[in-house]
């Protein structure tokens, strides 16, 4: 569909629903019978389709492959996508981190070179921030970038690098100054993952999969054209973009959460034993509290979208939402496991499918209070920046 014809507002919601009805492949919806875990190529093709259909890159300028709509349409698409229980993006770091940072600090040539391929899923990105010695405290980053004529050479180690086993580019944060400079002297690069000297060593995660890796960088050459922003600008650009991203990324979460709750309840209701258990008063309060938890997430997202649409600043509100969502999601996963584990022995395909989904969610959910700033980091942000509590004197 040509971008210019995309409608806005309610008409856009109708467009999104119609597109999803026609284009979501059978077996991609995790709460439906016949679901199969999609492989990388299926995900890539589906996400490319979402973009072509006007459901990704929604707020990005048309000249960079986006659709030139507002954050309100971005919210609508996320609500409709979330409701269907579709696969998580395999390029979320590209779309929600690298893209916005390139938009903020990249040159015109870089915007032309990176943004459209990323939306079209021709380039998948990972994020090279964390290191073995620098997790929550990125100021302790040790990976070094040194000048090589006009170009750069980078050496160091990155860890917990999600999506790196299948990524084409890495949004790399590296030090150009001295370690004592802490947050100064950090630069951002769009590093090629197939460059000489890049070694990806997948790390097995608690659910048995290997979606993240340790990335070893040995004298990796990076073109001057792949440096993003000025050498000192990396950290400030990242912080600036992250504050907004934390509030707006994966905006579908509340609605996907609703899909999970509905899936759990349906699976329990369809099983005579579990139907009796979930209908008992013991679970009423916990189920209701989860509904309320989801409403609170929406309460952060929807008014925040309105404020952003009105051009208002949102400060550190992203920390509040991230903190609440991650903890509420973990509480839900515990409830789901507890309920499903009370099913009697014997084949019940619906319970089996739900158990597979929610066992996975329980394990993967442990990461949600760790990545993108741990719970403790978020609490620190609230204490320091929102409450402005005095430090020790």
């Amino acid at each position: 569909m040509p971008t210019e014809t995309l409608p806005s507002g309610d008409a856009y919601r109708r467009h999104v629903r119609a597109w999803l009805t026609v284009n979501v492949p059978a077996g991609l919806r995790i709460d439906q019978p016949g679901y199969r875990t999609p492989d990388l190529e299926t995900c890539r093709a589906f996400e490319a389709g979402l973009h072509a259909g006007g459901l990704a890159g929604i707020t990005w300028p048309v000249e960079y492959g986006g659709h030139g709509l507002t954050i309100r349409e971005h919210l609508i698409a996320n609500q409709e996508i979330g409701r269907l229980g579709l696969p998580e993006s395999i390029n979320s770091l590209g779309k929600e981190l690298a893209g916005p940072i390139i938009m903020a600090v990249g040159t015109e040539a870089q915007k032309q070179r990176f943004l459209r391929p990323l939306l079209e899923m021709k380039q998948i990105w990972c994020q090279g921030f964390s290191e073995p010695g620098a997790g929550s405290d990125l100021a302790g980053l040790r990976t070094r970038a040194v000048r090589d004529g006009d170009n750069w050479r980078v050496s160091g180690r990155k860890i917990w690098t999600s999506a790196s086993p299948w990524s084409d580019r890495c949004l790399l944060l590296a030090r150009t100054g001295a370690l004592e400079d802490r947050h100064k002297g950090l630069a951002l690069f769009a590093m090629r993952m197939d460059a000489p000297g890049v070694t990806v060593q997948p790390i097995r995660q608690i659910d048995g999969s290997a979606h993240f890796a340790e990335v070893i960088l040995e004298d990796v050459p990076i073109d001057a054209a792949d440096a993003l922003g000025a050498p000192d600008e990396g950290w400030s650009a990242a912080v600036r973009v992250l504050a907004i991203e934390r509030a707006t990324n994966r905006m579908y979460r509340a609605w996907r959460f609703e899909n999970e709750v509905a899936h759990l309840v349906r699976a329990c209701r369809a099983n005579p034993t579990l139907n009796g258990i979930i209908g008992s008063g013991e679970y009423h309060r916990r189920l209701a509290e989860i509904l309320v938890d989801i409403e609170i997430i929406k309460g952060y997202v929807e008014p925040t979208v309105e404020r952003l649409a009105e051009g208002e600043a949102i400060g550190d509100r992203g920390s509040l939402m991230k903190l609440h969502w991650s903890e509420a999601h973990q509480r839900f996963a515990v409830l789901a496991l507890e309920l499903l584990d009370q099913a009697p022995p014997g084949a019940d395909p619906e319970v089996a499918a739900a158990r597979e989904r929610f066992q996975h969610l329980y394990l993967r959910g442990r990461a949600e209070t760790i990545y993108a700033g741990t719970t403790e980091v978020q609490l620190g942000i609230i204490a320091d920046r929102m409450l402005k509590l005095p430090r020790e004197r």
Binding site: E295, P303, L389
Partner: protein
């Protein structure tokens, strides 16, 4: 939100905070006059009753201030009831502060042959009220607190400053009747305004915790420098923001009953925990009568009971199970 609306809400909040502060030194009857003169009781009421006929968005900052300042007056009940009574004479008396009104939130009275009987409860400050709304099976009825067949007696709530009362009805004559939809509007409005009041209480208690831990020195440094305590206050702030977020969303979606219920449920759950945490940070001082944490806690638990938070949870769960059968 337009700038004009924003300015109006800010002005409402400031007026309400001043009036609430002034009320603290007044007898209950004088509080009515004070609040009426500030134009607060009639925010929602019809213009024909002397009200401002504004929306709940304007009542939210008023109740926020009432909760923050521990107002000893059934303002939430008076505002909602004055609005529900439309242009009736009782509405104007409530708006003007000539009559103090409250609502018995628990129990149902029997209305037969035009007479009311039965026992209802959770009526805040009914012992000093002139008018009491009691719920019936099909709607609600307004009675005079001192009328024949109406007996007010102490209830068993935690709040001692705005005490819950029971009302015993023996062939009492109603002054006015409300239909079910008017009662529903009152109950829906009350969920939002209780959330606003609890949000105000949380912010007061959090501010007190910040002030206390910033000055109290133990182990050679101010308590506020201990990370465990800083994080506890971050959790209190999170609670206040949860409540504010749920209220903001409910105001954006006035017909969304789940959003409305969530505002109240979030306020009772996170608000009570936040005030308990603020009390904890005061150490032994927090356990004393003089430090007002317990007064806020008592008030929040009373609001929780008046709004029947457990019953609300049961209804939300039942609806979820029905929708996914």
């Amino acid at each position: 939100m337009t700038n004009d609306t924003h300015d109006a809400l800010t002005a409402f909040a400031a007026t309400a905070a001043n009036a609430v502060a002034e009320c603290a030194g007044l007898a209950p009857r004088a509080r009515a006059t004070c609040l009426a003169e500030a134009g607060l009781i009639g925010v929602l009421a019809a213009e024909s009753a002397g009200g401002l006929a504004l929306g709940l968005d304007h009542a939210v900052p008023v109740l926020h201030a009432a909760g923050a300042g521990l107002l000893g007056y059934p303002l939430l009940e008076s505002m909602l009831l004055a609005a529900a009574l439309g242009g009736q004479a009782e509405a104007a008396r409530i708006v003007l502060g000539e009559a103090t009104a409250t609502i018995a939130w628990a129990g149902r009275a029997t209305l037969a042959g035009g007479r009311l009987s039965g026992t209802v409860g959770r009526a805040p400050m009914a012992d000093s009220a002139d008018l009491i709304l009691v719920l019936t099976g099909t709607g609600a009825a307004l009675v005079g607190a001192n009328a024949a067949g109406v007996t007010v007696r102490p209830g068993d709530g935690l709040d001692v400053e705005a005490p819950d009362c029971e009302v015993v009805l023996a062939n009492a004559t109603p002054l006015a009747l409300l239909e079910a939809d008017a009662v529903d509007a009152i109950e829906q409005g009350a969920q939002l305004l209780r959330a606003a009041a609890i949000g105000g209480a949380v912010e007061t208690c959090l501010a007190a915790a910040v002030a206390y831990t910033s000055t109290r020195v133990q182990f050679g440094k101010a308590l506020v420098s201990f990370q465990a305590l800083r994080h506890a206050m971050s959790r209190q702030k999170l609670a206040a923001e949860h409540i504010g977020a749920a209220i903001a969303r409910s105001l954006m979606r006035p017909d969304d009953r789940l959003a409305r219920a969530a505002a109240f449920a979030a306020a009772t759950r996170f608000g009570a925990a936040a005030v308990e945490s603020a009390l904890q940070l005061h150490g032994g001082m927090g356990f004393t009568w003089d430090i007002p944490m317990h007064r806020h806690l008592r008030r929040i638990r009373s609001w929780e009971a008046q709004g029947d938070a457990p019953g609300l949870h049961r209804r939300l769960a039942a609806e979820l199970l029905t929708a996914n059968a």
